[in-house]
Structures are given as C-alpha cells and as structure tokens.
C-alpha cells in the first residue's frame, strides 16, 4: 500500500516537473505566437480596429512584451550560454579522450616490449565495441607507416577483429597467404570490401585477436599483427591473457566507451556465432 502511494506521488511529481520544464522551455514562443495571433485578428478588424478593437492591440502588445521578458527572465540559461557550455563540455570530453588514448598507447608500448612484438613489422591496436562497430582507441607501431589511422570505425564482422570478437573464448590467430591475390581473396572472405583492401597500408601475414572483457562484459578487442610470416603465435595470446597490462587496458577501454554519446549501450550486442558442421571423430570405425 505504501509502495503504491509512493509510486503515485512519484509519478505526479515527475509529471508536474515535466510540465513546468515544458512551460519554461516553450513560454517565450507561446507568448510570442499568441501575440502574433492577436495582432492578426486586430488587423482583420479594418476600420473598427482603432475603436472597438483597441483592446486587442493592448493585449497583443502586452503579450509581445511578456514574450520578450520571458526570453531573458524565465528561460535561463540562455541559448547563447547553453551553446558555450556545450562547446566547453565537448572540449573537456575531447581532452579526456586524448588523455585516455595516450594512456592506452603507453600501455601498448609496454605490452609490445613484454611480448617482444615491438619490431619494425609489428603493430598493436585497441578497439572498443559500440553499436555493431569497432572504434579505434589507440594504436602503436614502431614503423610510422603502420602507425597511421585511416578508418574511424570497423564493421563488427570484419577481419581478425570480428573473428576474435565472435570466437567462443575470445581468441583468434589468423594466418594470411603471402601472395597478393590470395591475400586479397582471404580478406574478401573475411568481409572486407575491395575499396578497404586497396586502402590498407599494412598487409599483415599474421594477426592475433584477443577480446577485452571487464567483469562479465565484452568491451573491445586487442589486435596484434605483423607482416613477418609466422611471427604472431598462440604464445603471444597466452601472454596477453595473463598480462595485468591488458587487464588495465580493458578497464580503460570500458571507460573510453562510456565517454561516447551513447556509450552506455556499448555492450548490448552479443557476439555472433557462425554455425559450422563439425563431425566428431569416432575411433575404431572408418566409414567411407
């Protein structure tokens, strides 16, 4: 009974609050609109406007004055002030994002050294998942050619990022063919478009993907890659899985994702699983 009353009072209070916010937001426009309407009616009176319709002119003028004062007195903060506040908030968010990005990059440098993947052919990147796409948080490569960022976001099902994200245990090791045509075919099979393939600066021959998780939530993917054949191995993924640096990176990625406009939904999608028809091996029988 008590809960029911509280819920009702709460609903009414929220309704009243909403009404006053609505009124405050729309009051200058409503008063201005009403003034215009009264002036139109007064103008339509023709010759009688200055005699019997004079009161309409007074009412219209009063409404217009009230609209003018409401714009300054009631609607606070002003539109100008709100614009300034928004710009300031965006600047602050950008600075915080830059600080987080730098922090993750420093950790990637340390991780590359620990994993001995800081050669001229290697690269490490961290992505966070949001709304069916991956967005890059930070990247580290000793080679400046590989350190560039060309794309802002990546589709969830594309390449080694998508493979690791969708893998049951969140780990995937991808080996690509060395030949250009075979490499392109493999990339297409992994969901990359011809345009994307043409724009790649690094044609990695080995990639390792590790899904970043915080508690029970998947937040992003860490990718290690190299243009040297057979350089990326399972041992690297094992080292990453045990590394406290990666745990810290995952925490930062979760914080980074929450700073995006709709970051609270960044973990809503569940990893997809492509069904494969595995056949169990039955020992002692070899049916043809």
């Amino acid at each position: 009974m008590k809960d029911w009353r509280h819920a009702t009072v709460d609903r009414v209070a929220r309704g009243v609050l909403w009404f006053f916010r609505f009124l405050k937001g729309w009051l200058p426009r409503m008063l201005g609109g009403a003034a215009s309407l009264v002036f139109v009616i007064w103008g339509a009176l023709g010759g009688a406007a200055w005699k019997s319709g004079l009161w309409l002119l007074i009412v219209g003028g009063s409404l217009a004055l009230m609209a003018f004062f409401a714009e300054f007195a009631v609607q606070r903060p002003s539109y100008m002030k709100l614009s300034q506040l928004r710009e300031e908030a965006e600047r602050r968010a950008s600075k915080k994002a830059d600080a987080l990005e730098n922090a993750v990059r420093i950790m990637l440098v340390r991780l590359a050294r620990v994993c001995k993947l800081d050669g001229h052919s290697d690269r490490m990147s961290v992505y966070y998942f949001h709304d069916d796409r991956f967005f890059m948080v930070a990247r580290y490569a000793r080679n400046p050619t590989y350190d560039v960022r060309r794309r802002k976001s990546y589709p969830a099902g594309e390449g080694a990022i998508g493979t690791a994200w969708n893998a049951e245990q969140g780990q995937a090791l991808v080996k690509m063919s060395a030949g250009k045509d075979a490499w392109d075919r493999a990339a297409r099979r992994q969901g990359m478009s011809d345009e994307t393939i043409a724009g790649l600066t690094m044609r990695s021959l080995g990639l390792g993907g590790y899904r970043l998780e915080v508690g029970e939530r998947s937040v992003g993917v860490l990718i290690i890659e190299s243009t040297t054949p057979n350089r990326i191995r399972q041992e690297h993924l094992d080292e990453i899985a045990e590394s406290p640096i990666v745990t810290a990176i995952a925490e930062l990625v979760a914080a980074f994702a929450l700073m995006t406009p709709a970051g609270e939904s960044f973990t809503s999608a569940q990893p997809e699983r492509a069904p494969r028809k595995w056949q169990s091996v039955v020992r002692g029988a070899t049916p043809r």
Partner: protein, 111 residues
C-alpha cells in the same frame, strides 16, 4: 606447455583445388569429408573435423578440432591430414593426385 596440452583448439582453413571442375564440386566435398574421416583416425589428438563448401565457389572450409597438440604444429598436422585425404581419394579413383592450395587459416581457442 601444460596449459597447451589441456586446451582444445580449432583450426579452420580455406582450401582450393584449382584443377577440380565445379560440376563435381559438391560430390567431391562429400568424398573429401569421408577421406578426412579416414585420415584423422591415425591422429588421436583430433576430436572432430570440418569439411564443407566455403563462401565462394570452389572454396572448401577444412577444419580440425584438436587437443593435446602444441598449436604451433597445428598447421603441419592439418597439411599432413589433408595430403593423406587427397591420396585416399586418388587411390580409390585410380587417378592423379589433385593439388590442394591452403590459403588463410584461423586458429581459435575452443575451450
């Protein structure tokens, strides 16, 4: 190394037989599955296998689920099994060995 021996991995790779006519592709996939089943019987580490048509015409997805094998040797093992399977098909046909080309591969930790 102990951890490696207790974990299960899945290796899936794309295989192309360039000399294989597309008209007999589906029946060949079925025969390859049978041959792989026979070939893996000599590999106790292999728990399951996968042979199915790939995403594009002429491609075959070939995979092995294995335990107690260092993943560094998974590719060699997959190559050996595939070669044996192709030999089994060639023996039963009495024809030439078809040349298989393995392209990209994906190794995932299954459990």
């Amino acid at each position: 190394m102990t951890a490696l021996s207790t974990r299960t991995f899945e290796l899936v790779t794309t295989v192309t037989f360039h000399d294989l006519p597309l008209a007999i592709f589906e029946s060949f996939v079925h025969r390859l599955a049978g041959a792989v089943r026979e070939a893996v019987s000599d590999y106790p580490a292999v728990e399951a296998f996968l042979v199915e048509p790939g995403q594009t015409a002429g491609d075959i997805n070939y995979g092995l689920r294995f335990k107690a094998v260092d993943p560094a040797f998974a590719d060699d093992m997959a190559n050996e099994i595939l070669e044996k399977a192709v030999e089994i098909i060639a023996e039963s046909d009495g024809g030439d060995l078809l040349e298989a080309e393995r392209e990209e591969s994906v190794l995932t930790l299954a459990r």
